[in-house]
């Protein structure tokens, strides 16, 4: 913790950055912090509750954050993929952000739950190969042991084992709870469009009504737009006030993209995502 606070204090005192985006203790567990004065660096913490993907605050649509000036952002190794994604898709220049990587021992997926156990560990921490951040200007914190494996049921395997009719029923029930608050989109580090297709009204490609047709159109569009781009931070699902398991859709599409294109959204911004690349030797004939 001292290393993180010292670094933040120095970056702010030297004027290298105007804000350090990190984690602090809030009224309900850990929450994002925006430290603009060196003397406030003491508020910064990092522990297993720090599940939030802070690079979401780097996207240019966060005008109120951008107004503060050059940011430093605290990232876990997995979050660095979102920084890479924003750079890859020309939303952020590498030199416009200072990336503070923290060595991670896994997170609980709930900012109010501190204890890492098989029942609390975020499923995305399983087999994590990014506990040591690579895309970072500074790496801080002690190396931590791997977290316990999640004992939560593998919902994706369960869904894949279902018939198409059963899967349809599963998603119909889940989407029936959606009220189209847009929390999934707003919390997502990779949903940075200045104008989302779902907000277009002439024509309204996606009906804004939270009825079966509107909800299906929205969730399928969101999922497809995330294929090969989603960094698996889980923020869409955590943000959803209706607890819709949106991460399952992202995970399935990530598998499909890995299988078809040999691509996984990683932390190297120089590797183009399939959706943003044109290659004469593309494996898919239709695009040549």
């Amino acid at each position: 913790m001292k290393e993180l606070r010292d670094l933040a204090r120095t970056l702010l005192a030297d004027g290298a950055v105007k804000v350090v985006i990190g984690y602090e203790e809030g009224p309900r567990g850990v929450r994002p912090a925006f430290i603009t004065r060196p003397e406030h660096a003491e508020r910064l913490i990092f522990d297993a509750r720090c599940t939030h993907c802070l690079p979401a605050y780097l996207s240019p649509r966060r005008t109120h954050v951008a107004a503060l000036g050059k940011p430093a952002v605290v990232v876990k190794g997995c979050d660095a993929r979102a920084v890479a994604g924003l750079i890859r898709e020309a939303q952020l220049a590498r030199e416009d952000v200072v990336v503070i990587g923290v060595r991670c021992g896994g997170v609980t997926g709930d900012p109010t739950v501190a204890e890492l156990a098989s029942g609390t560990v975020a499923p995305r921490c399983d087999a994590c190969d990014a506990r040591e951040p690579k895309l970072a200007d500074h790496v801080v914190g002690p190396a931590l042991p791997a977290p316990p494996a999640s004992d939560q049921p593998d919902m994706l395997a369960r869904l894949e084992g279902m018939s198409a009719a059963e899967r349809w029923e599963f998603w119909q029930e889940a989407f029936s709870r959606c009220v189209r608050c847009n929390a999934c989109r707003q919390a997502c580090p990779m949903c940075f469009c200045e104008r989302c297709v779902a907000d277009k009204t002439q024509p309204a490609w996606i009906e804004s009504s939270p009825h079966g047709r509107g909800n299906l159109a929205w969730h399928l569009t969101r999922a497809i737009h995330q294929a090969g781009r989603c960094v698996a931070c889980g923020e869409c699902q955590r943000a959803c006030p209706a607890d819709i398991p949106l991460g399952l859709l992202n995970k399935k599409l990530a598998h499909v993209v890995a299988e078809r294109f040999g691509y996984r959204a990683g932390d190297d911004p120089a590797v183009p995502a399939p959706v943003g690349a044109f290659r004469l030797d593309d494996a898919q004939e239709f695009i040549r």
Binding site: G26, P27, R28, G29, V30, R31, P32, A33, F34, H52, A56, Y57, R62, T63, H64, V65, A67, L68, P111, E173, A174, V179, R180, C181, N182, A183, C184, R185, Q186, A187, D199, A204, E207, S208, S209, P210, H211, G214, E235, R238, A239, C240, P241, A242, D243
Partner: protein, 353 residues
């Protein structure tokens, strides 16, 4: 109004069965397929989870659904046929409402019946009897007492239920509640000598109302449209609107026309939220609330200054759902506490001590 009565669990189950058989819709907190509690239609008391955790969403959707048709149209040549939607509804009992959710419905009556009487809202209000269960408490994000409510607040309720051994003590609050008790008198036992059960320890869920003085907060808000507080607290806000969707009192809606082909369609109203940029985007491209801080300011000011100035009470019942739902860690009681501190500091040297 008749006095207090009691009802046994068995009789309450029989009452639910009687009502369901007679065509009354019964809604109660109940667990769904995903294991979470929402207010849901029940066919028998066994399906209800009375006094379990706070339902995920509030009661407002039973009066202002997340999406509802206002009318539909069909065009044939030059003739346009408009089809209205019904504004009368079958009888409905909400059993086991939370006091914060029941109060919210009555608070919303002001705006729904102000310059225009919303027939759909009041149609559902007239059809619905709300039987509220005294609150067993949730967690430290509750702040009902600061909004003038409390775990035993009867505002918005037609009947109040207090758990006792083997059943509930039933307090009649309104003539509508009295009518239900009278119509099913055999299910109730007169309890003129029954004393109300001792309230459970309110604990941290009910802050001292003096810590969040609503008049001082309203007064500060009216004077501080431009204040650094807004930019400061808005930083972590994603503008996601999860707060508004779970809020029992947020009631803004959008109206959309949804065509079916060329000659038919439906006009609907859908929940909307002031937390998005689209909410205030003008056709010209100008947006009077360009940044998130302006949207947060709107939410807080509407609830704690504009609404009380217009209708005499705050647009919040302290349920704490917004704080629990927020992925960015925004916390309304904390924001109100900061405003109260600023208001105190501004009101004189004694208050600042």
């Amino acid at each position: 109004m008749t006095g207090a009565r009691t009802i046994t669990h068995d009789n309450l189950a029989a009452l639910v069965a009687d009502l369901a058989a007679a065509g009354t819709r019964v809604t109660a907190p109940a667990r769904g397929a995903d294991g979470k509690v929402d207010y849901r239609p029940i066919a028998s008391l066994a399906e209800a989870a009375l006094g379990a955790e706070l339902p995920r969403r509030s009661l407002k959707e039973f009066f202002l659904p997340a999406s509802e048709p206002l009318f539909s149209w069909r065009q044939e040549g030059a003739k346009v046929d408009l089809r209205a939607v019904p504004t009368e509804f079958p009888p409905h009992l909400v059993l086991g409402a939370r006091p914060c959710d029941a109060a919210a419905v009555e608070i919303l009556d002001h705006v729904m019946g102000w310059d225009y009487r919303d027939e759909l809202w009041f149609g559902r209000r007239a059809a619905t009897t709300i039987a509220t269960l005294a609150c067993p408490g949730v967690d430290g994000s509750c702040f009902c007492t600061a909004t003038g409510r409390g775990p035993e607040s009867t505002k918005g309720s037609d009947l109040m239920l207090y758990p006792i051994d083997g059943g509930y003590l039933v307090e009649v609050v309104t003539p509508k509640g009295d009518a239900l008790v009278t119509a099913h008198a055999a299910r109730f036992i007169s309890a003129s000598d029954a004393s109300r059960p001792v309230s459970p320890d309110p604990g941290p869920r009910t802050p001292d109302p003096a810590s969040l003085p609503m008049p001082a907060i309203a007064e500060w808000l009216a004077r501080n449209f431009e204040h650094e507080l807004w930019r400061d607290i808005a930083l972590r806000c994603h503008g996601c609107g999860a707060c508004a969707s779970v809020c029992p009192t947020c009631h803004c809606f959008d109206i959309v026309d949804e065509p079916e082909g060329v000659t038919e369609g439906t006009r609907r109203r859908n929940w909307d939220t002031c937390q998005t940029g689209l909410f205030t985007l003008h056709a010209s491209g100008h947006n009077p609330r360009r940044d998130q801080h302006a949207r947060i300011r709107q939410r807080v000011t509407h609830k704690f200054s504009i609404y009380p100035a217009k209708f005499g009470e705050v647009l919040c019942t302290g349920c704490g759902r917004c704080a629990r739902a927020c992925p960015g860690g925004m916390d309304l009681p904390e924001i109100l506490g900061r405003i109260a501190a600023l208001a105190g500091a501004a009101s004189g040297p004694e208050a600042a001590v």
